[in-house]
Amino acid sequence: MMFAAIIFVISMYLFLQFFVSYCRLQVAAGRRVDLSESAREATGIHEGQGVSGEEFPRLRRLVELCPETESDTYRLGAIRAYHAFLGMVKMMFGPMVPAAAAWATNERSGCAYYAAVALDARIAHTRRMLETDLLA
């Protein structure tokens, strides 16, 4: 029993480490993508201007309005969980460790940008679908 409990604690700790790193990888990849003009119009994000992490729920709702593309729902789900996790980190450790709060704020902003990039991809996908339908 003791051995199982130790394994459980270590596994959960490492799971969190791997999960955070995996989500950071997705967010970092998202940051490299430039938003199109139409996505900027739809989201209200201006060029050179950052996006607040608090915008994430609004952007996610916008994403949900567009048809799904290339099974991005699973990854968006992971980013959503990551965003919620960061919110907890900010709330629990923010008052005591300002660096943790700053890190969480920056990462939440990355999550919001990731949602904007996903929205951009879905808008482009919807356009292509409409064009195909019109040509057919």
Partner: protein, 233 residues
Amino acid sequence: MLGPFDYFVWILGFALEVFVVFFSLARRQFLRYLTLNLYMLAAAMVTVGQFYLVTHFGLYSLLYRYFYYYTDALLTILLYFSVFSLYQHVFKEMAASRYVRGASLMVLGGTALVSFLIVRESQSHLTSRFVVQLSQNLYFVGLVLIYILWGAVMKLRETRTRVIQLVLALGIYFSAYSATYALRNLFPDLSVARTILPPLVGTWLPFAWACTLWRVPEEARLATARLAATHAR
């Protein structure tokens, strides 16, 4: 009884396993990630076997149970080979293949020996509790191996996004399974750890690998310093 959710996750997992193999073949990457593809192929075959046993003998039959747990243990050992192949990818430029091969043979030999000793000790009571313990230990060894690999990735500043993503996906898989089996050992009656978590975690690996192979080009690069869980930008 299996419900629509169980069948959905089962079929999704199988479809993703087959997708990884066919996608690799179509892109001529089958040999580049040979052990990963062999694992996916074996996992797909095991899924077919499980489906056959469930439909012919029932979900609660002893035959299905033994097939499930022992193929799970064999697949985990097969997955070790995928971990070692990722070690070779990471240590490629250091020309350390010989050492990786040696270390992998030692780990596999050690795992086989320990498993054999455990089985010999428990021959008189090879219960489902025993196989849960064996699986928990096998997944935990996998987790340790992948954590060491992740340390090497960070230390060597590996930049290949594909390799990083494959390693992280394996890390999540091993840690989630290890935690699930430990939970089952701690609370044998906890139904979430028996019915919901295993199929979800099982689908994660083919999904993450399929996404990686499909979406991340071989030449994509990323600075690993950005990814450490404890690193602030």
